[in-house]
Subunit: 347 residues, 2 copies
Amino acid sequence: MTDRRPRNQKVTLQDVADAAGVSKATASLALRENPRISEPTRMRVLEAVESLGYVYNQRAASLRTRRSYTIGLILKDVSNPFNAELTSGAESQLAGEGYSLLLGTTDDDMDKQARMIKTMLEGDVDGVILSTVTGTALDALRKWSQYCPMILLTQYYSALAVDCVGMDDVNGTERAVEHLIQQGHRRIAFVGGYNSTLTRQRRLQSYRDILRRHKFECDPALDITSPVTRRGGYDAIHQLLSMTSPPSAAYCYSDVIAFGVMLGLRAAGREAGQDFAVIGFDDVPEATLWHPSLTTVSADPRGLGENAAQLMLRRIAEPDLPVKRIIMPSRLIVRDSTAAPVSERLN
Amino acid sequence: MTDRRPRNQKVTLQDVADAAGVSKATASLALRENPRISEPTRMRVLEAVESLGYVYNQRAASLRTRRSYTIGLILKDVSNPFNAELTSGAESQLAGEGYSLLLGTTDDDMDKQARMIKTMLEGDVDGVILSTVTGTALDALRKWSQYCPMILLTQYYSALAVDCVGMDDVNGTERAVEHLIQQGHRRIAFVGGYNSTLTRQRRLQSYRDILRRHKFECDPALDITSPVTRRGGYDAIHQLLSMTSPPSAAYCYSDVIAFGVMLGLRAAGREAGQDFAVIGFDDVPEATLWHPSLTTVSADPRGLGENAAQLMLRRIAEPDLPVKRIIMPSRLIVRDSTAAPVSERLN
DNA sequence: GGGACCTGCTGAATCGATTTACCTGTTATC
DNA sequence: GATAACAGGTAAATCGATTCAGCAGGTCCC
């Protein structure tokens, strides 16, 4: 079948055309199923493609068409299940329209983000879906968004005319914290993440609003920031438990944090759902597997990815449409990691 | 600074040259710091770049240079920490040499793998680092490896002249199973993964060899395959515990499986390290966080990624070098999830 | 003062596709 | 039978860079 030719000497469309006894133009049109090319001719071209082992050169084509059919997706990291789901959602949505995904990670590092965007722009992507690293300047975003269509994930800036898709942090937080309050908890910690993200700012604000609405004390010492890793949650709960007046419940920035908190509780001889209440955010598949299973705010990461992709395709198709912001709904899923505080039950 | 121009009208090198009052050739040479271009001229070019907001077009350049400086990395999924580390290792190694990584995932699906490789080849990557999906045919690999340099991850085929980097499954398995045997375990399950992967085949073979060497029974019912997820491990241990003569220890295909097993044990009212022994494979960061912490075989995923990248760069630089296979050493890290079986301790 | 050599730059070909405008026979139409 | 319409193809320009082979002008040296 495919004849082995020297590595550097690739088969080009011209070779295919020669082998099929047609012009390069005809070969091109035949492959793109242009109706002007007759069926017999198209078959000859396809046979030539097969026998020569021709590989289409997307780079060359995109030079001429000025479309690369690649979308960049830049995330802080992909190793957490939320982002993995999001990626998968975006990818399948784009693949359906003939686009492919170029994935980049920044490790929440500003320099890496800048390099990543530069690489993507130079690689000539048709658009970038971006979850900004903490502390990204508005000016930088404004500049980047001039070079190619851009969709912002979870972050959104009212001062910036850029499409974005986020989730309903306020509502999700309300449901979670209200649930804890109804169980009788009074000292509720807010655990994990960094305040430089807008997402955390919104959730924190909302958490405080609810406590105040109920006229509960809002102790700043119960607000613990940390990396969004199990280790982050683990260390945070240790810190909280060593307080003179520790909390009886933790509302966590993400499921991953919540898992860390549960591990930390156990290391301290405590157990979530028995003598401490834990709520996560994201509802990753692992949440049901834990013992106790994790009460969490479900946020449909896959839907987030799908929506971002759709928004991007829309923007590419019609660059002049007004800015669109999508907020995905979230809901509380009550499982076993939450229970009334011990003091409450003794009464 | 950058003037806003119509989206579709990008700034080209010609524009830069015009603005700097030099030829396109000079502009190109200036940007690549060619010594034939004088410093003053180079400065003028750089200023033009800055003021016009020129973005280098890597696709156009690679058409001429026949080098894209992009390497494809195709994995089954990135959401597990092992692959995330591997990716990060490969990426930083490549970035150091001016290459960037194009990441693709296959979800262990044959069709997706084929599509992914096609996309990558069409996107004109300089090489592909591939962790094959289960059941990939040798012929397919042979064909793909003709189109561009290829490095195989963890899988290796003696019948295929392709570079690869794997880990020392045999040695790692020996250490793990010997450790369990020394603790007094006799019925040891081998849990998780699918036998269609060469990796599992090697580990299973090695596990059996050791049991036989010790003249222990090698019950095929203790060999449980499953998806490489927590859920996989969770379900497997349930199945094992319901046997009439259940095992007292599990050697797991990966840490992720082991976590699932520990969750399953707890759901069944048992506890790893107390009335059951669990060993994982990979030593992901999470392993130390669990309670009990996980005994596991450490396999340096980052090193794996780095080595794969280096091998790729070597192959690109010198295509005619003989095939090279790297086996990364592995070692057993004993933590708290392993302990002597209950029966043993009662004696 | 004439060749050798250097410095700093440019013109034009090139990479591999797409696409427009045009060409050449056939067939249909009146 | 002249002409329009059409079917099936092709030549050549084009996308945005790189790079080779000069070229003009100056310096050096015997």
